[in-house]
Symmetry: C2
Subunit: 350 residues, 2 copies
């Protein structure tokens, strides 16, 4: 890293002469009315005469008035911001298209409601403290929490502060917060049964993120589908929904059970990693081993062969979580639960 050029202006000591913004007072003077009337007009309230309305409109464009958010927030006792808390390592945030989709869905819904979204990524211990402090600071009116873990310190802080919250996935512990989910267990069961239906005899699973409800539920669905035929030696647990974890998990399964002929990977990224390991081991997919994933993320269509998987409405999850938080902020409803549909997408990998 190198700097090509450093240009310093001569008047470096002057911080910023920022042209001072017009206030509601300036508009009032310009329009020949009072602050109150301008305020009423701006907030679309009743009781503003046609004459006043016209002169205010003209005055606003003349002085270039834009309401000051800080002042408004101060008196309204709110910030018009919602935190988006992702409890994952930085690397996974980049790698998992799912999180990006959820983020986008939430961002869209919040924007439409004139709220800003503040992204908070919790990776290290240090982040936990920082985010907890941040939440206590009243920077946000509510939070959306993605991939909370069991015994999550952030969730405890959220609960203690009683800030409106919505989880994507089940909230940890006995929380009564809002959440939006898909039926992970049911979907996992369904795709496993479908995999069984292709005639596989030795079906294993690369289970990931068992400390989150999604990971645990997918394993539960897998177990339920196999019933008596379940063999715990065919389950390999990996920590994260990541490509490298999938590769390592598949390698472990191949060593422990060389006769394995079907694999349910807990996510598409995991499945993609598994495909690499299978390729390295000289196994053909789907001829020798059938592989199914979960998410229907960008990975699914771009692996070779393309993945059979469970379609998850990631953007919808984000959107609904945002709406649930907004409802609580407006006080129009108590915490709610919501279930979105998922579906099996059958491609070439099984």
């Amino acid at each position: 890293m190198s700097s090509i050029d450093h240009k310093y202006s001569e008047c470096v000591s002057i911080p910023t002469p920022r042209p001072k913004r017009a206030t509601v007072h300036d508009v009032a003077v310009e329009a020949g009315v009072s602050r109150g009337t301008v305020s009423r007009y701006v907030n679309g309230e009743r009781y503003v005469s046609a004459a006043a309305r016209e002169s205010i409109e003209a005055a606003i464009v003349k002085v270039g008035y834009v309401p000051n958010t800080a002042a408004r927030n101060l008196v309204m006792q709110r910030s018009q911001a919602v935190g988006f808390i992702v409890h994952e390592p930085h690397a996974l945030f980049v790698e998992d298209p799912n999180i990006g989709e959820i983020l986008l869905g939430a961002n869209t819904a919040l924007s439409e409601a004139d709220h800003q979204m503040v992204v908070l990524i919790v990776d290290s211990e240090r982040d936990t403290d920082r985010v907890a402090r941040y939440l206590s600071g009243g920077f946000v009116d509510g939070v959306i929490i993605v991939s909370a873990r069991a015994n999550d310190p952030i969730s405890r802080v959220v609960e203690r502060l009683a800030v409106p919250a919505a989880y994507v996935g089940h909230p940890p512990g006995a929380s009564t917060a809002s959440f939006v989910i898909i039926d992970n267990s049911g979907a996992a069961r369904a795709i496993t049964e479908r995999l069984i239906g292709t005639g596989r005899q030795r079906i294993g699973m690369i289970a990931a993120a068992l400390d989150r409800d999604s990971g645990a539920d997918r394993l539960a669905g897998f177990t339920a589908a196999l019933g008596d035929r379940f063999d715990e030696r065919l389950v390999e647990a990996v920590p994260l929904y990541s490509y490298s974890a999938g590769r390592d998990g598949m390698q472990a399964l191949l060593e422990r059970a060389p006769d394995i002929d079907g694999v349910f990977a807990a996510s598409d990224a995991v499945a993609a990693g598994a495909l690499e390991a299978l390729r390295a081991a000289g196994r053909r997919v789907p001829d020798d081993v059938g592989v199914v994933g979960f998410d229907d993320s960008a990975w699914a269509k771009r692996t070779l062969p393309a993945l059979s998987t469970v379609r998850q409405p990631a953007a919808g999850l984000g959107r609904q979580a945002a709406l649930l938080v907004l409802d609580q902020i407006r006080g129009v409803s108590a915490p709610n639960e919501m279930l979105l549909d998922s579906a099996i997408v059958w491609r070439d990998s099984a």
Copy 2:
């Protein structure tokens, strides 16, 4: 989508009885000092006696005081927030790990400086207006702009408002804003020369996003490397750095020039799409056709074969852009330019 359960509390009319927060005044009373002294302590200023300090510390934990940001922002005339503007379609935001990395790098640097990052994604015309309004509203003290286009309305708004800004990539037009770049042209030239060195005779390029400086510069580097051997029929321009654009671009090249034996794809995602098209056409990589990409993103290691590409310090770009904005906000320096290093990573695709 279906709702499983709607629980409404009985007292739905009461908006939120939010326990009112302690103020600096409460702390002052509890500690037996004045507001001013508490303020000085909180802001780490001089002239606070040891006795006062102790009683204030005790009072703060007792009443559970956290400073009110809105009030502070109001009097300080700033928001402690920086906008992160991405000028891309939603789909690409999810697909391109590069943007995620830049976002993460910026977010980390901003967090360390106690600034929050507000993500603003500009996709449609409607978004442009919304974001422009947002910027005028004083919600942010500065902005980081990623993938600005020529004649970008957002950039014009930023310039007009004179809000501190830093671009990732060259700013459009004659802007004098800060920016942080890599040498796209030089890197493109270097990897093309390397590709030539493998003995390829008919080398083409899938050029993407020519309305952005990165896209145009990569094409320029490619052209320069080929010199006399440049054949414009071997260049296919596609609109976006996306997988599907890469696939379509490669198909077009194959139709126009079936004897093509080398391809420089403008990004890894584009290269991954090109690999699919080549596979579909029955060409082997790298045996029949050599392919190189750009970015060294998650795509590069996971295509088959793994991509030879240019490593770009994406997180570093975000981080430096954040630092450049922070410098301007603090008024410690005028707009700056910064060049980060890139390097060629040679793998199996060429």
